[in-house]
């Protein structure tokens, strides 16, 4: 008697579970059926390349005053917080430095003085073999297959700063504080960043997408050329053919895409 009642209750429980599970299964099966009827595409004006590259003619950029408008153009359109006083918290996408800090590989003791005193423009090299991308645990930084730009997806960045440790060029900056109060000239079209993410130059991916050249190239009055490294007839390839160029820390094998004519 006792046993049979227990048995009855067990069966009833299992049946109830089965009946309850059926509508749930139906609900799951129904989900993800027909997707919405839209599609996304690259803009018609977008500039494309296999690997974007930059050639900076440092002969045309002799003084700090020559570099200023170039750096400013970038700072303005990308909402760079330039008012941060603490050097350790500084954010920079493109900046100026001395020859000795830029080209640490070159070990000649006695250099052409004119070159050694020239200011050099530094920015992310958009390496063909980027060590920062390998270091990123969330794929927040990635090398875009379509055009070789090393990009940041700020939404994914968790602020671990592995990429900063991995980058041999110091091209990355970390937002130690909320950058918004330190932005001097606001650009309404580009987002700011938030506290706790890493940022760097994006080769103006947002401008290339609408058919514009990068801001620094436009502001350089011809001193900076930009184009496809793997298109034989591109402006950068023509310049590379005709001029002797150097790159930063070539021995590391990251294959930087920014070339300097000295």
């Amino acid at each position: 008697m006792k046993n049979s009642r227990r048995r009855f209750l067990q069966m009833a429980g299992v049946s109830a579970l089965g009946l309850g599970a059926k509508p749930m299964l139906n609900a799951f099966a129904a989900g993800g059926g027909e997707g919405p009827d839209y599609h996304v595409a690259t803009g018609e004006d977008a500039l494309t390349a296999k690997q974007w590259a930059m050639v900076i003619d440092t002969r045309k950029l002799q003084t700090a005053e020559d570099l200023e408008p170039i750096v400013e153009a970038c700072n303005k359109i990308h909402n760079i917080p330039t008012a941060i006083q603490n050097k350790n918290h500084e954010i920079k996408w493109i900046w100026e430095t001395h020859y000795h800090n830029a080209f640490t590989d070159k070990t000649n003791n006695f250099l052409n003085e004119e070159v050694a005193h020239r200011p050099f423009l530094l920015l992310c090299n958009h390496c063909e073999n980027p060590p920062c991308v390998r270091a990123c645990p969330t794929q927040a930084t990635f090398k875009r297959e379509s055009d070789g730009i090393v990009l940041m997806d700020f939404h994914r960045c968790i602020g671990c700063r592995f990429c900063m440790a991995a980058c041999p060029f110091g091209a990355r900056s970390f937002n130690f504080r909320d950058p918004r109060p330190f932005i001097e000239e606001n650009s309404e079209e580009f987002p700011t960043r938030m506290k706790g993410v890493v940022e760097k130059c994006n080769f103006c991916a947002e401008r290339l997408a609408v058919g514009k050249m990068p801001a620094c190239v436009e502001a350089s009055k011809g001193a900076i050329a930009f184009g496809d490294l793997y298109d034989e007839h591109s402006e950068v390839r023509e310049l590379l053919k005709e001029n002797y160029t150097i790159r930063r820390k070539q021995t590391l094998g990251t294959e930087p895409s920014v070339y300097y004519i000295v």
Binding site: P36, H39, V40, A41, R144, D153, N186, E189
Partner: protein
């Protein structure tokens, strides 16, 4: 079953305590928020997708936009009617819905969701 009374009393107290939030707040439900459309949004009649779809799925759509723009450089959105849009939160969505406080925020506050879009994306592209 010697403690029948104690058990019953305990049960009553337990149920009273557990259901406290329900009967305490009975009849005090906050009214569903009323969204205000800007003149521009009203004139457009339909968002990038039909209103019903946008109400339910705008977050999924924004996620698709984010992924395609940031990671694949695809910025053009072609909707069901074949209309083109630039996929941009600040420059397309907020161009029409320029009253974020009366549109986005009202519903988000009501539903107690706190999207962190505005930590980076500028919420008044026209400087309103």
């Amino acid at each position: 079953m010697k403690d029948k009374k104690k058990i019953l009393a305990g049960l009553v107290v337990f149920i009273a305590v557990i259901t406290f939030p329900f009967w305490f707040n009975m009849g005090k439900a906050a009214p569903a928020p009323e969204l205000e459309l800007t003149a521009e949004a009203k004139a457009a009649k339909s968002c990038v997708m039909p209103t019903e779809y946008m109400k339910v799925e705008h977050m999924q759509l924004l996620d698709v936009w984010r992924h395609n723009v940031v990671r694949r450089g695809e910025r053009m959105f072609v909707n069901t009617d074949g209309k083109l849009f630039n996929m941009s939160l600040s420059n397309t969505c907020l161009d029409c819905h320029s009253n974020k406080e009366k549109f986005c925020d009202r519903c988000h506050d009501y539903a107690s969701v706190r999207p962190y879009c505005w930590d980076c994306h500028i919420d008044s592209p026209k400087g309103e």
